[in-house]
Symmetry: C2
Subunit: 345 residues, 2 copies
DNA sequence: TTGAAAGCGCTACCAA
DNA sequence: TTGGTAGCGCTTTCAA
């Protein structure tokens, strides 16, 4: 079926080794031999068998990526960016989706380990760091994306979540909101950091969250959070004092929340100003265009890929390093209470 | 580093072959031996080296997917669905994005061929069928997704595009639109089929497209088509007779078009009713919720994966077959001119 | 500059 | 029920 080195060697009456050297641009090959081999390769449309190569080199030229949800635009962005960078350097990308399920994630990681990918990138749904022991045992380098584990010394690329929370909340404060609520995410580092930032921004104005003004996004079924955001917002609107500003863990939950607010007959942003996080691509086209903190998903993907490829190249295990991307506030109608507010800050 | 069959065999004083058989649940192994081997495998957290296995079996247990744009929700949906099905059967998925560039697509396919994936799935950006010769030469089975080539006898899974065009246009006709325009896509089968359906639906009402009422989405830079849709719509609004209904090639272009319409001071759907295609997940939250033809992206992914896995299993090359998914009209505010219009049809 | 030999980790085949 | 042998397609090493 597919041509092999041996076929080419036999055709040309030379040895397999010589052909192999031409394939890899090894210097000590005669000009004429090289030409002949290259010609024959083209004729046969030769493709080296990467499985065979991997077996002997111990490298697969493949990166493995595990995300909680490939449909979430944030992770799709990252996957795309990684894929582009990887391709540039001749690497392929094995992508899998854990559905936000820690057990499934472990299975996916096992699969990637079995395939001996050179580096694993994972936006983890684990609540503890236990699951990574397995990777470490196999000595496969890995990089955490987006979500990290405090006190766990692994490479990390993601946004500075506390800055996210501060940026969003400070913006709402600037818009004269004083009763700012927060719909927080599940118990992972991103949600914790954003909550922390939210509190710090309030504190800098000598404020604290009012009773019932921090609500958790339900975790059930609905990963991207539209439904959860809707329910959380309904809960908030029934709170002792009604919020006049709302910072949502992510954009999908903000969409759900906005639906609840509009259904309750309130105006956005006059009655409740809303800020999301993620800056999803359709924000401009929404019923009320959504202000959002941009997490620089593309940069995250690019940095993560660069780091992964650097590690993959010199098989040496570089010491773990963390890279924090700075978030950026993108102001749209959902939180612009004063016309002069610039659209970015 | 990673444990090998030989390590386990040596530890237990048995042969590699026996261990290999336990690994693959081969029947003729003594109960006790099996237990001992399994125990040791667990202790060592053994992961078979798939590259080695591939080399001897000639199968990689990997599917390859090439899409024009992983960020487009339609293709993200498909990728996710395929990934889920593949995983269920122990297959992994190599995903790459061609950026709608035929040359890049060919490169990606070469890469997948070099990796000897068992089946290639491709939503192709090729304008001719030439590029597939390469795959055929290597005897790697492949399945076209979403976009096909008339007269080319290959397996195909996708929506019935003519039905898409008819569904959308008939709906607009039911809403009493009589000057229905169409923003058509690039020169691939999907765009051609939808255009065909649009014309047929008009014809069944003894209508034909008015002059200037079929506009092409520009192809430059902007793959998902928001910008293209905006520009196309501006062009349409300047036409001899202004359209009162608009069927757009996809949802992103419909978003752009709606922006142009609203900016021109017109109302949706009263002045211009709009229908998109793809039914993207945020349609409900848009400034004007967008009516759209659902292409059943998940079904497409599922069918395509099933077919691919069936082919992968019995290495036999099944004869090419085409599977057409029926589209479904989802009516929302952007085209609902009469309150009683049901939301699905 | 070229090539013979060995071996990567696994499975297929057949003999014990 | 168990295992020896051969070999998948390639790279590495070292000798010619």
């Amino acid at each position: 079926m597919a041509a092999r080195l041996k076929d080419i060697a036999d055709d040309l009456g030379i040895s397999v080794v010589t052909v192999s050297k031409v394939l890899r641009n090894h210097p000590d090959i005669g000009e004429e031999t090289r030409k002949r081999v290259q010609k024959r390769m083209r004729e046969l449309n030769y493709q080296p068998n990467l499985a065979a190569r991997s077996l002997v080199t111990g490298r697969t030229w493949t990166l493995g990526l595990v995300v909680p949800d490939l449909l979430h635009p944030f992770f799709a962005d990252i996957a795309k960016a990684i894929s582009v960078e990887a391709r540039k350097q001749g690497y392929s990308l094995l992508i899998s989706s854990s559905d936000e399920d820690p057990d499934l994630e472990i299975q996916e990681i096992r699969q990637l380990l079995a395939r001996r990918v050179d580096v694993i990138l994972v936006a983890s749904a684990q609540s503890s760091v236990e699951g990574f022991r397995m990777i470490e045992e196999q000595k496969t380098p890995y990089i955490l994306i987006d979500r990290r584990f405090v006190g766990h010394n692994a490479s990390f690329v993601g946004v500075d979540d506390e800055a996210v929370g501060m940026l969003a909340t400070s913006h709402l404060l600037e818009q004269q909101c004083r009763r700012i609520a927060h719909i927080r995410g599940p118990n992972v580092s991103t949600a914790i950091g954003r909550l922390e930032g939210y509190k710090r921004a309030l504190a800098s104005h000598k404020l604290t969250p009012l009773p019932g003004h921090v609500v958790s996004l339900g975790t059930s079924g609905d990963h991207r959070g539209e439904k959860g955001g809707y329910e959380a917002a309904r809960q908030l609107l029934g709170a002792e004092t009604r919020p006049d500003g709302l910072f949502c863990f992510n954009d999908p939950s903000a969409l759900g929340a906005m639906r609840a607010i509009l259904e309750a007959g309130l105006r956005i942003p006059e009655d409740v100003a809303v800020v999301g996080c993620g800056n999803l691509s359709y924000s401009d086209f929404l019923r009320v265009p959504l202000s959002s903190v941009d997490q620089g998903s593309e940069s995250i993907g690019k940095y993560a890929a660069d780091l992964a490829l650097r590690i993959a190249r010199k098989k040496a295990k570089a010491k773990p390093r963390a890279e924090f991307i700075s978030p950026r506030m993108v102001v749209r109608a959902s939180s612009r209470r004063f016309p002069e507010t610039p659209s970015n800050s």
